[in-house]
């Protein structure tokens, strides 16, 4: 374990001296994490505003002059893409991955700090290119976040010219950033764990982030090649995705390409992407639940294997997004089967979370409220996935609001509940101060109840058959007038939820200066990040010597030990060995 020997020499660290090297061109994983997080939250707010505009049109059609079909589709597209890639992926991996991996593994930093810094700046560039598309002729692309060709690059779709090119360029840049960050995360987890931190002693947070990063490294290349191929179709006149067609009355030169090929490539990335977002959330929520229930996570080994199994399976389910795409219909049998199989490890995770609460000693802190909210929303979203994953049921429900409601529950609301849980949970570590609890609780109630008021009814619009991505429903024979009042109520809930995020922003910013200074490890957590010498941890994380790990991350309420938690770096004592025969499990 050569790396430990080097890492144990803190004089090798080259502490940054100037403001610029400390906070701007910083190579410290914690600063980079905050940079990633801040940028991601900023673009997330842009996407939140876009969703509000979109909802205004849907809830109150014929009211707002500045929302025309063109602008509406641009709002839809940019909202979706920003939320999935530039907020969730960036915040979960670039933000929390960066912050937590070295600390939880007991490393001084990422193994390639310079590349880590570069990763953030390249990510920032991708965000700038993305946002620039709002200011180019024709505006951003309105092809939907799936960017399906042929329409994405043809007249008749908003932003078919500049918008789509900037989008593809931005995605390509993002993937470069992700790859630099991702290689770092994987290498750090595999190579830089401290003494005693075996893989099966790693907190589930690290397992989730690690597996998600591996998925990302395998999945993003599919998006990269499809972006490059589409760009060639658009700019160089190739026909990767473009068959012979007549666009708005004009016979174009394209011939022989396949739009369905793009969908296969897109979803080969797109489905693992769901788990790139979900797995870190699964991991973090496990640790939040265990800590605040003062109980070990139930079935740790099963949880690890479930994460790995879900990650593996996520690569062979992609075409469940394409049951009605015109691909060979016999694929439906295979993909429906693999998709429903994924429900088994996922259900196990849910069972183990609630069994972690069982016989715990539950503190309903703000992070815990969000974690429990997550179990509720994720159960709901996961169960509706069983409808859409089952090829036959996808027939009536595909491309309706049921799909919108489902994926917002499962990969919108749920990971965001975990992100909030995580931000509140690790806030004392990152800032050395406690957030305002009353505001945190208010934020939880607005967010939790508000999002359910948005998405539960939305499923019923889907049952009814209301199509998604419609600027206005107009009149049909089968959609009753009352659907419009449902839409209006969804919009009102959405605006309330959107506005209530100001409580969160205020709390996070206000508490930076005014929050109560908190003691070290205020939650009584066991994992290494709370055991640093300083709070917030200094550059290099650990003092003169790296911690040594003696146990798994879940020694809460160990029988025979007075304190109700034992940090991972505490040696096994005599009393716990006599106190409970199950003491040293992992």
């Amino acid at each position: 374990m050569q790396h430990v020997a080097i890492a144990d020499r803190p004089d090798e660290l080259h502490d940054p001296q100037t403001f610029i090297t400390k906070y701007i061109w910083s190579q410290d994983h914690k600063v980079i994490a905050i940079q990633y997080g801040g940028t991601a939250i900023f673009v997330g707010l842009v996407a939140l505003v876009l969703s509000g505009l979109m909802r205004l049109q849907l809830g109150f059609p014929d009211t707002f002059d500045f929302i025309d079909p063109n602008a509406y589709l641009q709002f839809v597209t940019m909202h979706g893409m920003i939320m999935v890639i530039y907020l969730l992926t960036a915040l979960l991996l670039g933000g929390f991955g960066n912050y937590l991996i070295p600390l939880m593994c007991g490393a001084r930093d990422m193994v390639f700090p310079f590349m880590n810094m570069l990763s953030y700046w390249v990510y920032l560039l991708s965000v700038i290119v993305l946002l620039a598309s709002f200011f180019v002729p024709g505006g951003p692309t309105g092809a939907g976040w799936t960017l399906y060709p042929p329409q994405a690059i043809l007249q008749g779709t908003p932003g078919y010219d500049w918008g789509i090119i900037l989008m593809l360029v931005s995605l390509a840049i993002f993937i470069v950033a992700f790859t630099m960050g991702g290689l770092n995360y994987v290498t750090t987890v595999l190579q830089a764990r401290t003494r005693g931190m075996t893989l099966m002693r790693m907190p589930l947070t690290i397992w989730g982030i690690f597996t998600a990063t591996v998925l990302g490294l395998l999945a993003f290349p599919a998006l990269l090649v499809s972006a490059i191929m589409m760009m060639l179709d658009k700019l160089a006149g190739t026909s990767f995705f473009m068959p012979a067609l007549v666009s708005l009355g004009e016979n174009l030169e394209y011939t022989g390409g396949s739009p369905v090929l793009f969908q296969h490539l897109f979803w080969f990335f797109g489905h693992p992407e769901v788990y790139i977002v979900a797995l870190p959330a699964f991991g973090m929520v496990s640790d939040v639940l265990a800590t605040h229930a003062r109980k070990n996570i139930f079935g740790y080994r099963m949880m690890v294997w479930a994460i790995v199994a879900i990650g593996g399976l996520s690569f062979i389910v992609w075409a469940h997004h394409m049951y009605v795409s015109g691909m060979h219909p016999a694929f439906g049998f295979f993909f429906a089967t693999t998709t429903l199989i994924i429900a088994v490890p996922t259900a196990i995770k849910v069972y183990n979370w609630i069994l972690t609460l069982w016989q715990g000693n539950i503190h309903l802190t703000v992070p815990m409220l969000f974690a429990i909210g997550f179990i509720f929303t994720f159960t709901h979203g996961g169960l509706t996935g069983l409808f859409l994953g089952n090829v036959t049921i996808d027939l009536p429900l595909s491309d309706t609001y049921f799909v919108v409601a489902h994926f917002h529950m499962v990969m919108g609301v749920s990971p965001i509940m975990v992100l909030f849980a995580a931000i509140y949970h690790w806030y004392p570590l990152m800032t050395g101060r406690m957030f305002n609890v009353a505001l945190g609780k208010a934020h939880f109630w607005f967010t939790f109840l508000g999002t359910y008021a948005i998405y539960l009814p939305m499923h019923y619009l889907g049952f009814l058959g209301v199509p998604r991505r419609y600027f206005a429903m107009g009149s049909t024979d089968f959609i009753p007038e009352s659907a419009q009042s449902l839409n209006a109520s969804i919009t009102v809930s959405a605006l309330i939820v959107g506005a209530s995020q100001l409580i969160f922003l205020y709390n996070v910013i206000w508490s930076l200066r005014n929050g109560e200074k908190c003691e070290r490890n205020p939650w009584g957590a066991t994992s290494l990040e709370w055991q640093t010498e300083h709070v917030p941890p200094h550059h290099g994380n650990w003092g003169a010597e790296l911690p040594t790990v003696h146990r798994w991350a879940y020694d809460f309420s160990v029988p025979g030990v007075e304190q109700d938690f034992i940090p991972q770096n505490h040696p096994v004592t005599a009393e716990e060995q006599t106190g409970g025969e199950e003491g040293e499990k992992a």
């Binding site: 589709l73 042929p150 259900a347 000693n361 159960t379 009814p457 199509p467 409970g580």
Partner: protein
């Protein structure tokens, strides 16, 4: 404690919402009741799990809420319990999957006696093709598509000449006969969906996809495009009319075959000129229009559009609304044309007029109007020249007072609300994005600059 109550209320509330909800699948009109059954099975199983998981969680939070005197139980794992839960979950999943796969096997296996109809999608319209007497759809290719051959029929395939071509957004089908719907697209992705039939499939340029179903009751059902296909996606509507067999046959017999359409000679502009004498008294001898008579300019308009509008007037599709006073005048005038040939001839004559510049009569801001026109231009063309492929008429050179009245008519449903006027219906949806009179004036001010 609050949380426990809220969780229980949310679970109970979800069930109550479900039971009270008037929003559910529209009544079935096809053979696919098995699809609904599959949905029901999944609904029952998932509802049970939703209830069990959340109520268990709520109980756990209540029972094991923080108590300084108590300690959590230390139990890293419980192999037996975990195995049981895995097995039960697997059984539940299998119970949902199996019916799904069985129904899917039916769904992709088309009965041998199914009739065939082809649905063709394009931005943002539907058209349909029946195989004709030989029961075979003729070959098609995107390369052949043009104004004279919107279906792209191959000139070399004799099987195509008896194909029945329906250039309208309305498809008729006979009741109780299984039908295989072949789908293709001329331009981008579309999706053929009829909620009452529970079927849905993307239409992809370059390949033919299909679904099959048997309509089980007569009536008119919406066809919706359910794959984002550009700005007009939401306005891409059509309908399926399910008829009794003889009504269907009567309708089908009225539709032209490809052979018949090819056999038509060119329109007779000399005869058209003679008929135009009546029109000219209001619209002007060279179609320049006359504001005092409320007669719009005709110069520059394409024959196909004039022909369609005249036919609409003759059939009571346009000008039938009680508030459309000027349209009502045109109904009478259009009926002086004796037959389809006369309509076609006069339309062809009108198309020979040269367009001219018009004066603006409205006060609007062309710069703001330009932004509004982005949406319009997708169909009507960047310079408002009109586009046959999208069935969008020329707007350039038209009087602004006339366009304003038409936009207002569309907004108010005075025009375009007749159920046979599917293109007009599109404009009803589109005109709604102009929220007030000023937006309309701005838009028209921009049009006057083109």
């Amino acid at each position: 404690m609050k949380l426990v109550i809220v969780l229980v209320l949310l679970v109970v509330g979800s069930f109550v919402f479900h039971w009270l909800s008037p929003w559910w699948f529209t009544p079935l009109a096809s053979n696919w009741s098995t699809v609904d059954t599959t949905v029901d099975i999944t609904l029952y199983i998932t509802a049970f799990v939703f209830f069990a998981v959340n109520i268990f969680m709520a109980y756990a939070i209540y029972r094991y809420r923080f108590n300084a005197k108590r300690r959590a139980h230390y139990e890293p794992e419980n192999k037996k319990l975990e195995t049981w839960l895995t097995v039960i979950t697997a059984i539940g999943v299998a119970a949902m999957l199996a019916p799904g796969l069985i129904v899917w096997a039916d769904f992709i296996d088309v009965p041998e006696d199914a009739d065939v109809v082809e649905v063709v999608g394009q931005q943002w319209q539907w058209s349909f093709r029946f195989p004709g007497e030989d029961g075979k759809l003729g070959e098609v290719d995107a390369r052949y598509i043009g104004p004279e051959n919107p279906f792209g029929m191959s000139p070399d395939d004799p099987a195509g000449s008896d194909d029945v071509l329906v250039s309208s957004n309305e498809l008729h089908l006979p009741v109780d006969r299984p039908v295989k719907v072949n789908m293709r697209s001329k331009d981008v992705l579309h999706n053929f969906a009829v909620p009452q039939f529970r079927v849905k499939m993307d239409m992809v340029p370059g390949l033919v996809s299909y679904v099959w179903f048997t309509p089980t009751r007569t009536g008119k059902f919406d066809i919706l495009c359910m794959e984002l296909c550009g700005i007009g996606h939401y306005a891409m509507r059509g309908s399926v009319v399910v008829n009794e067999e003889e009504d269907f046959n009567a309708w089908l017999a009225q539709q032209p075959t490809w052979g018949q359409l090819q056999g038509r000679g060119p329109a007779d502009t000399v005869a058209g000129k003679a008929s135009y004498a009546v029109c000219g008294s209001c619209h002007g001898q060279s179609g320049e229009g006359n504001a005092a008579m409320n007669a719009p300019s005709l110069a520059g308009q394409s024959a196909w559009y004039v022909e369609r509008q005249l036919n609409y007037y003759r059939q009571g599709i346009r000008g039938a609304h009680e508030k459309d006073t000027y349209g009502q005048q045109m109904v009478g005038m259009a009926q002086t044309l004796p037959d389809d040939a006369a309509v076609r001839n006069v339309s062809a004559y009108i198309a020979t007029f040269t367009p001219h510049k018009v004066d603006s009569t409205l006060d609007g801001d062309p710069a703001r109007g330009k932004a509004h026109y982005t949406t319009c231009g997708a169909c009507h063309g960047a310079s408002a020249q009109g586009n046959y492929a999208l069935q969008a008429p020329r707007l350039a050179g038209q009087e602004d007072w006339y366009l304003k009245r038409q936009l207002q008519n569309f907004r108010e449903g005075v025009r375009g609300s007749h159920e046979a006027d599917s293109y007009g219906h599109q404009m009803v949806l589109m005109a709604r994005s102009l929220q007030n009179e000023q937006s309309i004036n701005d838009l028209l001010a921009y049009l006057n600059t083109l």
